[in-house]
């Protein structure tokens, strides 16, 4: 501590100096420890506050890091990639999950292949995936559609001479079911007319319905079943209003490239979208939450809450409400069943429950009246006995989904896409970020996205200086004219037009746009056929890539060099004249990303406040302790201790307390996190579910959390010893003696 000895510096004296310093330090530490032990109470109190602070820092930062990480994993692994690139000409900033006024307004890349090619020249880029994200209304068939489909199937089997002895009975049951639904349609319409005070039905539709309700129609059904079916499908089914309306959020992309780059993706039902074809893959969580029979889904969720969160039906109001809602939706189940199936359901339920009630609704009511005691049993009965008779999902694999979206110019466009499969991301099964997204082919996306305004399109055309649009339009028109439409009543004969990729210089968007406009003009059966033809068309990679994409996900070989690569992409864009703007995942996530930053900020402020108050209190305690030791310090000074020594002594004391209790606190915090990590924090509300990316958060500890905590408390304890140390330094031997009296 003291400066070098006045004698000439030599090796001996230097060594002696070192030794003296070491001795001094040892003395200081011993003095400090003695003092700390002597005033144990003060040490414990100051130490307690420090310990408490360290625990809070460790637990708080570890929790936040874990939430941050689980969100990052969900977002990067399911949609964002390491980087997102979009056009710098965009009006809004990219927000993968939308902002407050909906999805951002992005200027599209008119030709994705140029962007892809440019990005691939960068050494750190591993993969690029084209994207376009949007949300639209989708509808699948209604109950009548489905019943008719089954009836048609049975009729066809009968006509093909199927020898199954059960067939006539099946047919009768299905006919009865369809007839019952048609009656319901009429009842519904009467209700509508009475309540809405406006007759919206045209006379023809009412005449059709009257015809379908007449006994003569059903008696004559067998004379020409196919004609009768066609009548029901075309004239009656559209009058049944209750086709399920869904909101679907999709990313239009090259499904193959998407699945390769987002390697966690796994198809759990159905198949992937075949290369170059149109179609959609639904996210499993979305499929479960929105397409599943609500009663079944509620049972699942009640079970999840009971098992994962140990919630009890008897105590939890939300669970009770779910259970009650199922009771008011029994009709959703009964109307799916034809008389034959109803009989089976009654028999099964009577046996399983057990019950003697002959009425299906009463049996279902009994089944769905759940308590903590019978829940498991009823859940099993529902899935083992009842579910096989039901369509559990309103959208089925292989079925086509009609997606209606407003294009950029405000026209309503609809596209039929086949549901090929259901997928999820491994490890992110419960994350709503990952699980609510569906994957659609890029062609359908472009159709739904529509053209830009006429002048924008003109601008792009000029920019590209490639006259691709016209020849293509002609090509499509020719195909529409001369392409062989399938014979009516013969579905399934469509063959993919593989091997006819068309001119490779196509701009696919213009093709789609032409078709859609035509389709809007003639919304008749011709449009349906064209849709069917479109659905089976196979596009070449060139067609897919040389068109519009809104944003591009970029995967890096070395994700730690993100900032560098963002820079490189910006420079690349400038060099090549492409309007490229690259952002990291957090920025790409828009508001969601900001939320993470915000919660970090809130924690930081909270920690700051806590330590500010702690600083005052510790300081206070130390000042008092110092004042108590006036005599002692005065004595020390009297026997020759320098002011510096006193200062050093107090600092060593503060450091020792900070280190000891800080470490202890950090260890306690680490222990708490370990414990919580082992048990998991249940997500008691949907909001927490969202933040935790699942039903439970299992926080993990990083070395950084502990280091940070120790660092902060050490700084705080040293800072808080400044003032008392300064006070102590000023104590003179005389003052100390005087106080003794």
């Amino acid at each position: 501590m003291s400066p070098a000895a006045p004698s000439a510096p030599g090796p001996d004296s230097r060594l002696a100096g070192l030794r003296r310093r070491a001795e001094l330090l040892l003395l200081l530490v011993r003095l400090a420890l003695r003092n700390l032990l002597a005033s144990r109470l003060k040490t414990l109190i100051v130490g307690g506050i420090i310990l408490f602070g360290a625990v809070i820092v460790v637990v708080g930062t570890a929790l936040l890091d874990s939430i941050d990480q689980s969100m990052r994993r969900s977002i990067v692994g399911s949609l964002a990639g390491d980087l997102q690139v979009y056009s710098s000409a965009s009006k809004d900033e990219l927000a993968l999950y939308g902002g407050m006024t909906g999805d951002p307004d992005l200027a599209p890349f008119p030709d994705y292949s140029q962007v892809k090619q440019a990005l691939q020249t960068l050494p750190n880029v591993r993969a690029v995936v084209p994207m376009g994200i949007a949300e639209a209304a989708a509808s699948a068939g209604n109950v009548l559609d489905r019943a008719l489909e089954r009836l048609r199937d049975t009729v066809r089997r009968q006509q093909a001479g199927d020898p199954d002895p059960e067939l006539p009975r099946r047919l009768a049951a299905e006919l009865a079911h369809v007839r019952r639904i048609v009656e319901l349609v009429q009842a519904d319409q009467q209700e509508t007319a009475a309540l809405q005070q406006e007759s919206t039905q045209d006379a023809a539709a009412q005449a059709d319905l009257a015809r379908a309700l007449a006994p003569a129609f059903w008696e004559g059904f067998h004379e020409d079943p196919l004609l009768a079916l066609e009548f029901l499908e075309n004239r009656i089914a559209p009058q049944a209003l209750e086709g399920t309306m869904l909101w679907v959020r999709y990313v239009g992309t090259d499904p193959e490239a998407f699945a390769t780059a987002f390697h966690r993706l796994e198809i759990i039902q159905g198949t992937a979208i075949p290369r170059g074809q149109r179609g959609i893959l639904l996210g499993n969580l979305y499929y479960e939450d929105w397409c599943k029979l609500k009663t079944a889904r509620r049972l699942d969720r009640i079970r999840e809450k009971m098992q994962v969160n140990q919630q009890k039906l008897a105590q939890d109001e939300e669970l009770q409400r779910w259970a009650r809602e199922s009771l008011s939706q029994i009709g959703e189940i009964t109307k799916q069943l034809d008389p034959e199936e109803s009989r089976q359901a009654v028999a099964r339920l009577q046996q399983a429950l057990p019950s003697a009630t002959p009425e299906l609704p009463a049996l279902l009511r009994q089944l769905l009246t759940v308590t903590d005691d019978n829940f498991e049993k009823h859940y099993r009965i529902f899935y083992e006995q009842l579910a096989p008779l039901l369509d559990l999902y309103s959208v089925r694999l292989g079925e086509s989904l009609t997606i209606k979206a407003f294009t950029r110019s405000g026209y309503l466009k609809s596209v039929n896409v086949r549901v090929w499969g259901i997928f999820q991301f491994r490890g992110l099964e419960k994350s709503t970020f990952a699980g609510y997204l569906s994957v659609m082919d890029l062609m359908s996306f472009r159709d739904l996205y529509g053209y830009l305004t006429a002048d924008k399109a003109e601008e792009i055309r000029e920019l590209k200086a490639a006259a691709g649009a016209r020849p293509l339009a002609r090509d499509e028109a020719e195909a529409a004219l001369f392409g062989a439409p399938p014979a009516p009543g013969e579905p399934g004969t469509l063959s993919p037009e593989a091997g006819s990729p068309g001119p490779t210089l196509l701009v696919a968007t213009s093709a789609s746009s032409v078709i859609d406009e035509e389709q809007m003009l003639q919304a008749g059966g011709g449009g349906d056929r064209r849709q069917a033809r479109l659905a089976s068309r196979v596009y070449s990679p060139a067609e897919i890539e040389q068109g519009v994409a809104l944003n591009v996900a970029v995967f890096l070989k070395d994700p730690s060099r993100t900032a560098e690569t963002i820079q490189a992409i910006t420079e690349l864009g400038r060099a090549r004249g492409l309007p490229l703007r690259a952002v990291d995942w957090q920025q790409a996530a828009g508001m969601v990303g900001q939320f993470i930053t915000l919660s970090r900020l809130v924690l930081l402020i909270a920690v700051l406040i806590i330590f500010l108050i702690a600083l005052v209190i510790i300081n206070n305690a130390m000042v008092i302790a110092t004042l108590q030791r006036v005599q002692e310090i005065g004595t020390l000074r009297a026997i020759g201790a320098q002011r510096r020594l006193i200062l050093a002594m107090l600092f060593v004391e503060a450091t020792a307390v900070g280190l000891l209790f800080g470490l202890l606190g950090a260890l306690t915090g680490a222990g708490i996190i370990r414990l919580i990590g082992w048990i998991g924090i249940p997500a008691s509300t949907d909001v927490l579910y969202f933040f935790f990316s699942g039903p439970r958060l299992h926080p993990t500890l990083a070395a950084g959390n502990v280091v940070l905590a120790c660092g902060i408390v050490l700084v705080v304890s040293i800072l808080s010893s400044f003032y008392p140390a300064w006070l102590a330094m000023r104590i003179t031997p005389r003052a100390a003696m005087q106080r003794e009296e």
Binding site: L41, I45, I49, F52, I56, G99, M100, T101, G102, D105, A137, N142, L184, A187, D188, Q189, E191, T192, L195, Q196, Q197, E198, T200, L241, E242, G243, T244, K294, R321, E325, S328, Q329, I330, G331, E332, K335, F406, R408, S409, G410, L412, L452, T453, K456, M591, Q594, L598, A606, I609, I610, I613, V616, I617, N620, A621, V623, I624, Q628, T685, R739
Partner: protein, 436 residues
């Protein structure tokens, strides 16, 4: 005697200036913080209530659903004059009521801008509270009386790129499942009233009926505004009974906004026809409640931690002070002060310290809050979602200030109880023998 003790306590505090200042400032900081946090929560609640109850809900709403088939539902009430007659005389708390249409449509401008809008259908002539909150920056609210007109908020302009006089096409699916469009003229642009005006727009009732192809007499909901919004829950319960007695089918209370009921519940339910649904403003705005509860949780947690630190600090200080003053206590006891007196003296000291500290803290909190409100600090989008506002507003209520002062002072006094008891237990003789 009380004054003597008070005097002694005050003298003691003054004698130890440094300690008093330190401890007092800690107490003041905690009080100030408490007041600011409470002000923040109240500010959010106030904004929510103000913009929410003008834009989306009344204090109590009588809405309803029509199920034209068992799978199709619309948020409509029919023949609302009859419902109004049924309500008459049953709501003495009523300030005023309005009838609002409910709708949801895509708005598309000629410029190519488009966005989803939640539509309110209103008869501007009958709206009173609306004019006090929604202030036009361009155009005039009165023009909303004309058919096929719309009022937009300024936040929607960058997206839609329209001005007063321009045309906007609204497109929405009707109850028949067909899409219908109506062209409307923008007659007014209003100043933002917080987050909710981002996606709300208002059209004349007539326009909404036209868009949904409905006949007059249908609307979305009757919104009742009460003198005191705290009466909402009992009034809603009473109205449920009144309406049921009048022969309406009334849905059971469910704390969800109407559109959640529509999508999640009503569509799948077995009944068809018409049911009324009485809801409160808390139900309709429940999607915001998680923000308040999260904020409350954070406030509680933070204050608990700070409370513990302060209590430890106070106990520690008093403890040491008592040791320091053992001889003084001995002397006081020797000259006749009772144990109770000693106890009272120390508690008084803590009380004075607490009172002074909290009052200083309250003053500081009020100053900071006033400063923040005056600055009109703009906040980023993610914070706006939490604050329900585009600037930071702290609503410091007198009751909250008083509560904070009383709470923190009591904690201070309570923390002093144990050390004070210890001091009171000292024997005069041993205390006088004690050295320093």
């Amino acid at each position: 005697m009380g004054f003597t003790e008070l005097g002694i306590a005050a003298r003691n505090l003054l004698a130890h200036t440094k300690r008093t200042v330190f401890l007092g400032s800690a107490i003041a900081a905690v009080t100030g913080l408490l007041i600011l946090l409470l002000g923040l929560t109240a500010g959010i609640e106030q904004t929510m209530l103000r913009s929410g109850t003008v834009l989306m809900t009344g204090h109590v709403n009588v809405g309803g659903f029509i199920k034209t088939s068992s799978g199709q539902a619309a948020p409509l009430i029919t023949d609302y004059p009859a419902i109004l007659r049924a309500l008459e005389g049953h709501v003495p708390e009523l300030h005023h009521l309005v009838v609002r249409g409910r709708g949801f449509a895509k708005g598309v401008a000629e410029t190519g801008g488009a966005m989803d809008l939640i539509l309110g259908g209103l008869e501007i002539g009958r709206e009173t509270g609306f004019r006090q909150v929604v202030r036009p920056v361009a155009g005039s609210l009165d023009d909303l009386a004309a058919p096929r007109t719309i009022l937009l908020f300024e936040e929607q302009l960058p997206r839609l790129q329209v001005g007063v006089g321009d045309t906007l096409t609204l497109s929405a699916p009707t109850a028949q499942g067909v899409n219908n469009t109506v062209d409307v003229r923008v007659v007014a642009i209003a100043k933002s009233v917080g987050l909710m005006s981002t996606w709300n727009a208002f059209v004349s009732e007539q326009t909404l009926l036209e868009l949904y192809r409905l006949k007059p007499g249908s609307s979305g909901a009757i919104q009742l505004y009460l003198h005191d919004q705290r009466d909402a829950v009992p009034v809603a319960a009473r109205l449920r009974e009144v309406l049921a007695r009048a022969g309406y089918r009334v849905m059971e209370a469910d704390p969800q906004p109407y559109y959640m009921k529509l999508f999640q519940r009503v569509t799948q339910e077995d009944w068809t026809g018409f049911k009324l649904d009485v809801s409160t403003w808390q139900d309709e705005l429940i999607f915001m409640s998680w923000i308040l509860s999260a904020l409350n949780a954070l406030t509680t947690l933070l204050l608990t931690i700070l409370g513990v630190i302060v209590v430890i600090g106070i106990m520690n200080t008093l403890w040491i002070a008592i040791r320091e003053r053992t001889r003084e206590i001995g002397t006081l006891r020797a000259i006749g002060m009772q144990r109770r007196g000693v106890l009272r003296m120390f508690l008084l000291e803590a009380g004075l310290l607490g009172g002074g500290g909290t009052l200083a803290g309250a003053g500081l909190g009020l100053l900071v809050a006033g400063g923040i409100n005056r600055l009109q600090l703009a906040v980023p989008e993610s914070v706006q979602v939490v604050l329900m506002n585009d600037t930071l507003v702290l609503a410091v209520q007198p009751a909250a200030v008083l509560g904070a002062v009383v709470a923190v002072s009591s904690v201070t006094v309570l923390a002093a109880v144990y050390p004070a008891i210890r001091a009171a237990r000292l024997q005069p003789v041993s205390a006088m023998h004690h050295f320093g």
